[in-house]
Every structure is written in C-alpha cells, then in structure tokens.
C-alpha cells in the first residue's frame, strides 16, 4: 500500500534492483517492469497490448518470458517459476533471472502468434496496414510460418461508427490499446469491448464516433489493421510513399509530423516515423501523438478551389499573370500609396501560421522598404488591450515541459482544443508522475478536470481577483485566504494544503494561461494578476502563455508586430544596413485588431496581406471584408479563390505548408522546421519570395536572398539571444537527427532541400528578458456577482484550433466530420435542471437560439455555460456571442422549439 502521508512528488528516487537478463547483469529501478528495463538494455520483447503511455492490460500474452526467482529456501538459488510471466507487468526483483529467448519463451511467443492468427482474415493484400503491421512483423520474427487452423473464421459486420477512423473488426487482436488510449490519454470513455469470448469485439458506445480531438492516434497505436484512416483508405501502399519529417502548422505545441507523399500528392500525415529494420515506418509505441486537425486537415492544398497562378486586376477581373508581373504590379501599387498618403497609410499583415522567416522578412520589409511600423499578425484578440496583454504575457514566457514539473497551475481555457498536444503532454505528465494539477478560473478544461487535485471555480470576470487573492495568500495573508475561500467555495483546509504545496520553494512549477480571449475583455486584468502570482511563488515557477496560433511566439520573436524588433535595436540597425539616424519605426504601428476601423477612417489605404486566413478568421469578419473595398491598393497571398481574394488588386498564389521550408517556434520556445514535402503547385511561390521580390522591385536593400536558409541565417543571429542559454547551441554545427532522416538508400525519405548552416535547433527555449511583475499589496475589489435566474447561464465562448484557419474547411476533416454542437455545464447545474450527459437542449442568446447536446463536465464553474466551437459544423454562425444565455431542455423524441 502506498504511503499516503507523503505526496508522491516528494518521494525519494526508487532504489536500484540488480538482476540478470538473458545472462547479462543489468540494473533496474524498484517498481519498474521487465519490459521497460529490457527495452532500455536493448532487449526487445515482443508485445501488442503494452504501450509506454498506457496502463498495463496484460492481455496479449505475447511478452511472456521465463523467470527464475531466487528461492530463499534453497540458498537463494534461482528457481524457475511454475508458469511463464508477462514482462509488461512483472516487476523486477533483485537476483531474478529473466530469459526472453529461451525455449519456453519462444514456445509462448509462437503459440500466441498462432492463436492471434486463428481468426485473423489474413487479408494483407488489401489491408492499409500492410507493410507496417506488427502482426506481419511478429509473424516473420516469432511465428511458426504455417497455419494449422482449417476451420471457418469468425466474421463481424462492419460498423460505420466514426467518419475518420475505419473499424475492421475481423483484423482485431483485442489488445484494447484503443480503448485504453481513449480512456486514459484522450480522456473520453467512448470505446469499449463488447460481447465475450472469441466473439468479442471493440466498438464505440451507441455506435457513435470517437469524437475526441486526439482520437486519430488510435490508428497509429493499433498494432494491426483494425483501425485505419478513412481518408487514406485504399489510396496507396505505405512502402511506395516518400516520407518527409516536418511539423504541424496548427498545433502550437510544436508537434512533429511525417508527411507521406507520392506523385505530388499528400497521402497521409502521421507522427514522426522511426527506423525499424533499415526502413522507416510509423511507430506503434510512439508517445508523440498528434491531433486530428493536423492528421486529417493537412490535405487541403489539393482542393479544387486552389488558384495556382498569380493574378493581377485588369478592370473588374483578376487575370493570371506571370509572377514577375504580379510582383511589379504590387510594388507599383504600394509605392503609389506610400507616395500619396505616406508610409503609415500602408500595412503589412502576416498570417499567424507564417514561418519565422516570413514574419522576419515582413517586419524588415515594412520597417525598411515602406518605413512604417504597421506590421502585425495578431488579429484574433477581441480588443487592442487584449493584444497588449498578450505582448506582456509573451515577454514573461519561459519554461518548457521537457524537464517535467512538480506542480502545474492552469488558468481558464480550453487547452485541449487550443494546443492539443501540449495539453495532452501536461495532463499525461501530471497523471503518470502523480503531480498535482491546480485549475483556477471560471472555465476549466474538462480534459484536466478529472485529474485535478484542486479546482478553484469562480465566475467570469473574477479570475484576476482570485489570482490576486491567491498571490496574497501565498505571501501569508490570512485575510486573503478567507476571501478566497468565500469566492471559490473551497474549504479552508483544502486551501491550506494548496498553499503548503505552492509554498515549497524548491519545486519546479508551471503556470499556464490561455491567451485565447474566450470571454471578452478579461485578459488585460488576468495576465498581470497571474504574473503577480508568479512573483509571489518565486524563481522556481515558469510561465507559459498558450495561444492557438501556431507561430505566435515565432512571429513575436521575429518582430512581426508593433513594438517589437527581432533583436536589440543596435544589432537590427546593423543587420538591416540602417545608420544611427535612419528612421526605424517600432512602436508606432497600428495593431491588426484595429485594421477595419483604420481603413474605415481612411488612415490605412494600402494593404499587403500574407495569407488571407488572417482576414477570414478575424473576429469582425464582415466589417473587415466590407472595409477592404475602401482600400486603394490590396495585395494578398493565398491558396484559394474566396470573397477576399476576389477583392485583391494583386493575388499571389502561395505555396502551402507542404510546399515550402521554414522555421516555427512553439509555445515552449522549441524551434521546429517546416520542410518542403511537395514542389509548389503550378506557379505558386512561398511568401518569402513574394516579399523579397516586391522589396527588390521597390529598391529595398538587403533582400537578395536566394533561399530561406539565408533569411534564417540573418534572422537567427538577431533572435537567438532571446533563447535562454541556447545561442551557442544554435550555432553549433552537428547532426540534426530530429530534422533529417536519411534512408540508407537515400530514396525513401528526405530532409530539407536546403542546408541552413547545420544549426542544431532542438532544445532551444526562450526566456525573454522582462522584469518580474510585483505582487500587488492588496487585491482589486471583487466584481459584483450577477444574479442568475433559473436556466440562465453566463457563457464562455470556445476557441478551437480548427476555427483559426479557414483553409481547414477544405480539408478532409471538415468534409467528413460532422458533429452536433455541444454546450458544457457543471454537474451542479445539470442536476438542478434535470439534465444528463448527452441530453439535448436549446440555447437562447438574445433573439438567436440553437439546439445543442449537453455535456456534463466538471470544467465550467457553476452558472457558466461553455460553448466550444470549431469541430465540424459546430461553429455558431447563427448565435450571437452574448455574455448571457438561457437554456431549455428538449424532451427526448421531440423536435426542438422553433428559433426565436
């Protein structure tokens, strides 16, 4: 029985356990299992059900090994156990002898392989898993090579449960990895085992979909061909595909991916492949999971709406033009506006998914060629104050998950849908290492809630107040503790325990805050409040702000926003060839958030937009689109024709994320490389070429780049000092295994086409140099609580990573996945309203109403309704974002009440 008096995170390191593995003396740690130690020692024990990220099921029985235990009755002589033991569950014991290749072990392995093939259809020729199947692999290595089974095999009907994941039950070996993944990692109990004995099968409850954003990973961890990707189904054999190691362009966690391509087409996206027997294949034991957006969303560049040629406006229409001609037209248009209205009438917008190089060039272009500070990528914030708060947050960002943590505080946010893999890593680290999770705010991520050690709930608008009180309580203010107890409803002794935990100065803690402005204008208060708590907690605590924009930190670092240069001013002036006296506008820029306003006021007359997605996903989209008509000149780069590109004077066909190189920075400060997996389609060009071209055309100096590598080279020298202690590492020349994987033949996989000076960019973490914010002497006054009538809720509007990029509407995830809109509420409210998880209800805001499926989770605070957006058709175009909503239950079997 575990010692409950000490918190697990304070326990001493486990002691060493020496034992003998296949005749070799090895040392494990107390509590470790044979399979983990063996893997570390380079002894591979075959397994299906065991996965390093999942609990031990012990059901495939493939890892049975022969174990001899020291017998205390016979002078501790190793004596064979009566039965073979499973390596995935048997803990190592001092003096034990383990044999993984003995006659008995081999007999067990071949026996299990024969059993597993008894009912397997052996349809490898038509199975998508063929070539990377663990059943095929183990049959070759551990199987008998012939079949004795002559009877009829078991057959199941094929379910149509999930639009993205195909379930072929006949191939299933019942390892239950998918069931455990959904339960433990994805946090949703949606899959299960049904029926019994040889007739049992895996499925989803109520034949429903596997709705989680991480669900696609069950495809990779399935060791056989039972769960396969629907979009990839029957499209190609995996060994014909070329693999490119790249990174996700949506997940700000910086997830690494492999793009599998052939004949200028993307076939599938998976987590990074690994080497297995001289070939690269997907890794069934991977813990590097990716989200469904990245997995099923990367294929939109092949959509038929794509414009592959640059275009210029002639009269009413946009006609295809040569790239040089488009560049000339753009340069002419921009010059004209600058000459007539001055440089500040021009603005450059950069997509939040642009690479650092593109952001850097945009910043350089705006500030040196045009001479304005109007360059920005931050469109999604509700207010200009919120974007300032975000800049404050960025300047204090530090820390990463690599070294783990002893405690983590998460403030408001739907992290799972804003940075899915980051959220998963935080939760998994806390769950597997028994580290305390503390949730604070009006909306806690329901993904974390079941694992939370403390949940401090409050109403919307009170978060800053709660954080200030907590900071004061940490400083020993008992009055603040009582107030905290009153406002959050937490019991005094629970708070005492929390304060005791936070007070351990030696701990490495993480403060995580979502900068997605889910509930209006709270960020300007919440960010300083949490930074105040950070100072109260001390040096050992790191702060990670979370934005769903993939390259937010990279673009911030590259200086692509008002008030920020890529590095120290002197260095920048030198690099950009500007003298001491030359103008270098920094602070004067207009935030992107105010763009519509400024265009309407006639202050902005010309716009260069790199990536139309930033306009498509603007909060006030209609207003902005209408304002574009007032521009004198508008140039845009994008993939698709749309109502925005139709308004352009010059359209540049952009290279997609599959078709260009570049560097991304994730929210922990790790750099990852986007690698060209396909040649640019038609006449499309990467944005950096467009910028460099226009700059040269406008007589800009210092834009003579011949590759992204040169841009990176110039940029990283300026940016690197902001990455803590890693400047040296960045400049080190050495192998870049994380980026390039070269097949022995060199034909199967490829790394970047260019060679950017061989930087080792792994493990580069930023630590911006901002002074700590002081903890306020006393808390700001508590906002007054609004009385809620029966059925009334304060609404928190969700921001989903899928909602941040309109391109995804043309990806297979949007085509296939149709999900009902949902609304999340606290069990307390659900109980009062007589609602259960899965019930239907109608939400009214103002004069709008929409039917939703109710989810009962411990995420939202009592009185708060969380309406997520972004999955499938669940975007609430018809529901106005009011702070207050009324909810009515819909009786089973009845249609929802008509709107209004």
């Amino acid at each position: 029985m575990a010692d409950q008096s000490v918190h697990p995170s304070l326990k001493p390191a486990p002691e060493d356990v020496p034992f003998v593995l296949n005749g070799k003396e090895v040392v494990g740690k107390k509590g470790e299992t044979i399979i983990t130690v063996a893997a570390r020692e380079g002894v591979y024990i075959p397994h299906y059900c065991w996965h390093p990220s999942l609990s031990v099921a012990g059901n495939c029985r493939l890892c049975l090994v022969e174990v001899h235990m020291p017998n205390p009755r016979a002078d501790n002589k190793p004596t064979p156990l009566p039965k073979p033991a499973i390596a995935c569950q048997t803990p190592v014991v001092p003096g034990m002898h383990v044999f993984t290749e003995s006659e008995l072990a081999k007999d067990c392995q071949s026996g299990m392989m024969e059993f597993l093939l008894v009912n397997h259809p052996l349809d490898c020729p038509i199975c998508d898993r063929g070539g990377e199947c663990m059943l095929q692999r183990y049959s070759m290595e551990y199987g008998t090579g012939h079949a004795r089974m002559v009877d009829k095999k078991r057959k199941f009907k094929k379910p149509q449960a999930d639009p993205l994941i195909d379930i072929e039950r006949n191939r299933c070996i019942m390892c239950t990895r998918c069931v455990r993944f959904c339960d433990e990692v994805a946090g949703e109990h949606v899959m299960g085992v049904f029926a019994r004995g040889a007739d049992n099968y895996i499925g989803t409850f109520g034949q429903g979909p596997v709705s989680n954003i991480l669900s696609g990973n069950v495809i990779d961890i399935c060791p056989v061909g039972c769960l396969t990707s629907r979009p990839f189904r029957f499209k190609a054999r995996v060994w014909e595909l070329v693999q490119t190691q790249s990174t996700s362009v949506w997940d700000a966690s910086g997830a690494k991916v492999t793009y599998w391509t052939r004949s200028n087409q993307l076939y599938r996206t998976t987590p990074p492949s690994r080497k297995y027997h001289e070939t690269y294949t997907i890794n069934e034991d991977t813990a590097e999971f990716i989200d469904n957006i990245t997995r099923f969303g990367s294929d939109f560049p092949a959509h038929e709406d794509r414009w592959e040629e640059s275009r210029v406006r002639i009269g009413e229409g946009l006609v295809p033009a040569a790239f040089r001609e488009a560049v000339r037209q753009a340069a002419r248009g921009l010059t004209r506006v600058r000459e007539q209205h001055g440089p500040d009438a021009l603005a450059v917008l950069v997509s939040p998914r642009a690479t650092m190089e593109e952001g850097y060039l945009a910043a350089k272009f705006a500030r040196t060629v045009i001479g304005t500070g109007n360059v920005d990528w931050r469109m999604s914030f509700q207010t200009a104050e919120a974007s300032d708060a975000a800049a404050l947050a960025f300047s204090h960002a530090s820390g990463d998950l690599e070294d783990g943590f002893d405690a983590v505080v998460l403030v408001n946010g739907d992290y799972l849908h804003q940075a899915p893999v980051f959220a998963m890593q935080v939760k998994e680290y806390a769950r597997l290492n028994e580290k305390p999770l503390i949730l604070i705010g009006h909306h806690h991520d329901a993904y974390f809630a079941p694992h939370a050690s403390w949940q401090l709930h409050c109403r919307p608008g009170e978060t800053a107040h709660v954080l200030e009180l907590l900071a004061l309580a940490v400083r020993g203010n008992d009055n603040a503790k009582d107030q905290l107890s009153a406002i959050t409803g937490a019991q005094a002794e629970e708070l005492d325990k929390l304060l005791q935990l936070l007070g351990h100065a030696h701990r490495k803690g993480l403060l995580i805050q979502s900068l997605e402005d889910m509930n209006g204008a709270n960020l300007p208060q919440d960010v300083p409040a949490l930074l105040g708590l950070k100072s109260a907690l001390g040096e050992a605590w790191d702060y990670i702000p979370v934005l769903r924009d993939r390259n937010a930190f990279g673009l911030y670092a590259a200086g692509a926003q008002p008030g920020r240069l890529p590095g120290a001013e002197g260095a920048v002036r030198k690099a950009w060839g500007l003298g001491e006296s030359a103008a270098l506008p920094v602070d004067s820029g207009v935030p992107a958030r105010l763009l519509a306003e400024k265009i309407e006021a006639g202050e902005i007359k010309g716009l260069l937009c790199l990536g139309a997605d930033i306009l498509h996903n603007a909060p006030e989209r209609e207003r902005l689109v209408a304002a574009l008509d007032k521009l004198e000149f508008f140039a845009v780069t994008d993939l698709f024709r749309s109502e925005i590109t139709e308004k352009a004077d010059v359209f540049f066909a952009a290279a997609s994320h599959l078709e260009r190189d570049g560097t991304y920075c994730d929210l922990e400060g790790n750099l990852a490389r986007l690698v060209e997996a396909l040649p640019p389609a038609g006449g499309s060009r990467p944005d950096w070429e467009v910028l460099a071209g226009i700059a040269k055309e406008m007589d800009g100096r210092g834009f003579d780049y011949s590759s992204v590598a040169q841009v990176f080279d110039e940029m990283i020298r300026l940016v690197a000092p902001d990455f803590a202690g890693s400047f040296k590492a960045l400049m080190l020349k050495g192998p870049r295994n994380d980026l390039t994987i070269k097949d022995p033949g060199g034909a199967r996989t490829r790394g970047p086409e260019y060679n950017p000076g061989d930087y080792r960019i792994d493990g580069a973490h930023f630590r911006w140099k901002a002074d700590p914010l002081p903890t306020p002497e006393k808390a700001s006054p508590a906002p007054e609580r609004q009385e809620l009538n029966e059925g009334e809720f304060l609404v928190t509007w969700g921001e989903h990573v899928q909602g941040s990029d309109y391109h995804l509407d043309r990806a297979s995830i949007a085509r296939l996945l149709k999900m009902a809109p949902t609304a999340e509420m606290n069990p307390e409210d659900a109980y009062r309203l007589g609602l259960e998880d899965g019930d239907r209800a109608v939400v009214h805001t103002g004069s709008d109403s929409i039917e939703v499926v109710v989810k009962v989770r411990r995420g939202p605070a009592p009185g708060v309704l969380y309406i997520p957006s972004g999955l499938g058709d669940a975007r609430f175009a018809g529901l106005s974002a009011a702070p207050l909503a009324r909810l009515e239950a819909v009786e089973a079997g009845k249609e929802a009440a008509p709107a209004g």
């Binding site: 029985m1 026996g111 059993f115 009912n119 004795r148 009877d151 019942m174 019994r196 040889a198």
Partner: protein, 454 residues
C-alpha cells in the same frame, strides 16, 4: 448405504420448509459463534481457523486462515466478499446451503468480518439463483431487525453490513478478481495478479473472497473447535466436505462426508452404484474444469491430496460420473463449448484457444476430423496437466487452464475413441443401443444431447 459415524453439520437431516427462518436457526443454537467471536480478539479467530486447517472450498483449496493473514496491517476499510457465484458445471452444494440455512451463512459472514476487521460484506450470488437470493435477502433483513447486522452487532459496538448482489450470468465472475470487477460495475474481467485481492481488491482496498461453504465452516469451527474439525483429516485436507454427485449414478445429490472417503465408496456405497448397473466409463472428480479419472482409479481418496495424486483436482468436489453410454468425444465437445461460451475474451490464449479447440472437437465428433487434428488438439490442450500445451499457465486467470485440462485429459484417456471417430467418419455411439432400466434398449445420451451450436 453405510451408517454415518459422524454428525452432519452443514446440511443436518432437518425437515424442509421452516429451516430458513431466524427462529429456526436460533433453535439449532445459531449465532452462538457470533457471541463467541465478539468476545475474542480478531487475531484469535484467525488463529483458530488457521489451526483448523480449513481450506477454500471453491476450487483452489487455498488455506482460509492464511489468506486472511495476508491482509496488510492498518489499512482500512477492508471488505469481505462471499463468492456465491456457483457456476462450475456439476457443482450444486452452495445452493442448498443458502436456501435452507441462510442464517448459518450470515453467522459465518459476521464471524469472518469480525476476524478480518471488515465492516462490509458482499454476497455475490449467481444471477440464475434468484430463489436463493430471495431467501438470503429475507434472512439479511431478519438479521438486521434482530440487531445481528448493522451498526451495532448484538450491542457490541461493532459494525457489520451485508449486501446481497446478484450477478448477471457469467461463469467468469466466479473467478475472484472478475467477481470484484463485476461488483465494481465494470465488465467482468479477471485482473492481473499480483496485487492479490487481499492487498488491493474491491475498490482498491484489501478484500477477502471466500466461497459460501468456506464461510459456512467458520462458525462450525468456532463452536465445535478446531480439533473437532481436524478429526476428519486426510493429509492436509481437514473437515467434512460437501460432494455434489451427478451423472449416471442411482442416487445423485449433495453428500456431506469426511474427505477420507474413496471414489468407490462415494459411487457404489453412498450413491447406490451406477444406473442400470452400467459400466463406469470415466469420472470428473471436481467440477468440469479438472482432468478426468478412469475406472482403474476408483480407489482414489477424495481429498485434495488424494485426487491430486491420481492426476486430477478435487476442485469444488463436484463429482460427475459417466457410464459406458457416453461418447467421451461428445462429452468433451460439450464441455469445450461451455468454455468457449464462457471465456471472457480478455487474453489471447483462452479466447482463441477455447474457440479453436471447440471447432476442432466439433469436426471430430461429426466425423470430419483428421489425424493431424489430434496432434493440433494435443499441442493446444497439453496433456491434461498444469502448464502443458499452449493455453495452460499462460492465461490471465485459471479459466484458460480449466478449458485446456479436460480436453487434454480426454484425449489422453480416450485417444482410441477419437481415432475411431475420424476413421468411421461419424460418432460410433450414433447407432449403438443401450439397455435401460425400463427394459428398453435406447441410446438416451445420444438422443437428448443439449445443443451448444451457435
């Protein structure tokens, strides 16, 4: 019928009808053991039970007192779970105990709870035993009313609660860890061991799981003394035992006997011999899961050690006797069908092995087998001994062994009959006629075969 020289204590010769009331049980001196147990230190009760040599009556025969002493010190709450999921084919001993003497079981539960310092006991009763569950529930209600159960057992200040929980018809839930997962509300899957339930069982707490008959024995040991219990001893098997005898004997039923009885005495003395004085073909001595015994092993002493010496297990002491009208291939096909149906499907060898064995046996029984099938079958099922073949010893729980042992032993005992099926192309018993008691010659066992065909 031999004259018994001992007093029957589990199922005394009492008239049916009024046996299940509290009043009746009190008249027989009931709940005396509870009074005694309340006066004893918990460790003392465990000592007495250990001293008596009481071994589990569910099948594995693990010493009960030793199991109790495995409970980690100072960890509470602890739970007692009574395994009343009596589903082993051939076993029918717990049902009369529960239906006729429910209060005696409660007596045992209270004593055991006091011994292991548990305040909550569950009776996990087989779903099909709805009558027994009713009787038990009534008895529990009565006991609560009489102050025998509840927050204050007989005014002692000790608490014992009892919950009767009905299963839903799965054989696997008789396996102790599957029983716990089922009781917790999950799919009845056996858990990986270690940790054993005594360390981490129901809801992750220390839990003791004992068979009904084992619990029933506790008050008897307390009132009559460990020495009385040890007066019926064969090697390390102590006490009286309930034998459920079924099959082709003249008087099948539940027999309460000391474990010194031999198989021959059991069949020919107590059960009146074979029906129609047929020849004995084979005996399954301990529930369907154990290897078979042949007529030349009739002098086997029916104790745990005796049966084990003969190459089988006493298990739940369910003796199934088959006469020469029974086709052993059909019999084993029938048993294999049972295990195929009842395998929970969690682990590979049991799930795939039980179904594969049944498919092969079906073919052999219907005359479509081949000689290679016999080798395949032998390699899967082994020799009818533990840890032989491809299943036994490699599955999560003992159901894998239970499925493999009988098949292996049937093949070992009757290989020539298997070969005859293959050579003839049909079951040789199909056209045979046997003399029956009413003077007719019929093939009863062939014509009344239960169908397991899915």
């Amino acid at each position: 019928m031999p004259v018994d020289t001992f007093e029957k204590v589990y199922l005394p010769n009492i008239e049916r009808g009024e046996t299940e009331t509290l009043q009746q049980y009190r008249a027989q001196g009931g709940y005396e053991a509870v009074r005694m147990a309340l006066d004893m230190a918990p460790g003392k009760i465990v000592e007495i039970v250990k001293d008596s040599g009481l071994r589990g009556r569910g099948g594995a025969g693990f010493p009960a007192g030793m199991k109790w002493s495995f409970l980690p010190k100072g960890v509470y709450p602890r739970y007692l779970t009574v395994n009343a999921d009596e589903s082993e084919p051939g076993t029918c001993k717990d049902r009369p105990l529960m239906e006729q003497r429910p209060h005696a079981l409660l007596d045992g539960i209270i004593c055991t709870c006091l011994a292991i310092e548990s305040e909550l006991a569950f009776i996990y009763i087989r779903g099909e035993y709805y009558n027994s569950a009713d009787v038990l529930q009534k008895a529990v209600d009565e006991a609560y009313e009489a102050g025998l159960l509840g927050a204050d057992v007989l005014g002692s200040g000790r608490r014992v609660d009892v919950v009767v929980h009905r299963g839903a018809g799965a054989y696997i839930c008789g396996e102790e860890t599957a029983l716990l997962t089922s009781l917790e509300g999950y799919r009845g899957y056996p858990k990986l061991k270690p940790p054993f339930p005594a360390v981490s069982g129901l809801y992750g707490k220390p839990t003791i799981i004992n068979n009904v008959e084992t619990i029933f024995s506790v008050p008897l040991i307390l009132t009559k003394g460990a020495d009385w219990f040890k007066s019926f001893t064969h090697e390390r098997s102590t006490g009286l035992r309930l034998y459920s005898v079924s099959g082709h004997v003249k008087k099948p039923g539940v027999y309460e006997l000391p474990m010194t009885v031999t198989l021959r005495e059991l069949i020919y003395d107590y059960c009146g011999g074979m029906r129609n004085d047929h020849d004995l073909k084979f005996v399954i001595p301990g529930g369907s899961s154990v290897p078979w015994l042949l007529p030349d092993q009739l002098d086997t002493v029916m104790s745990m050690e005796g049966v084990q010496e003969a190459g089988s297990f006493l298990g739940s002491a369910a003796v199934m006797v088959m006469d020469h009208t029974v086709c052993p291939v059909w019999a084993i096909e029938n048993l294999a069908a049972f295990y195929r149906h009842e395998s929970c499907g969690q682990c590979t060898p049991c799930r795939e092995g039980s179904s594969w064995m049944h498919k092969i046996l079906m073919r052999i029984e219907h005359g479509q087998g081949t000689m290679e099938d016999l080798d395949t079958l032998a390699s899967i099922a082994g020799e009818g001994k533990p840890n032989t073949g491809m299943i036994s010893g490699r599955s999560i729980c003992a159901l894998g062994d239970a499925a493999a042992w009988p098949v292996g032993s049937a093949l070992r005992c009757f290989r020539s009959e298997f070969e005859e099926h293959i050579k003839l192309g049909h079951c040789p018993y199909k056209n045979k006629r046997f003399w029956m008691a009413d003077g007719k010659f019929v093939n009863e066992s062939f014509e009344h075969r239960p169908s397991w065909h899915h």
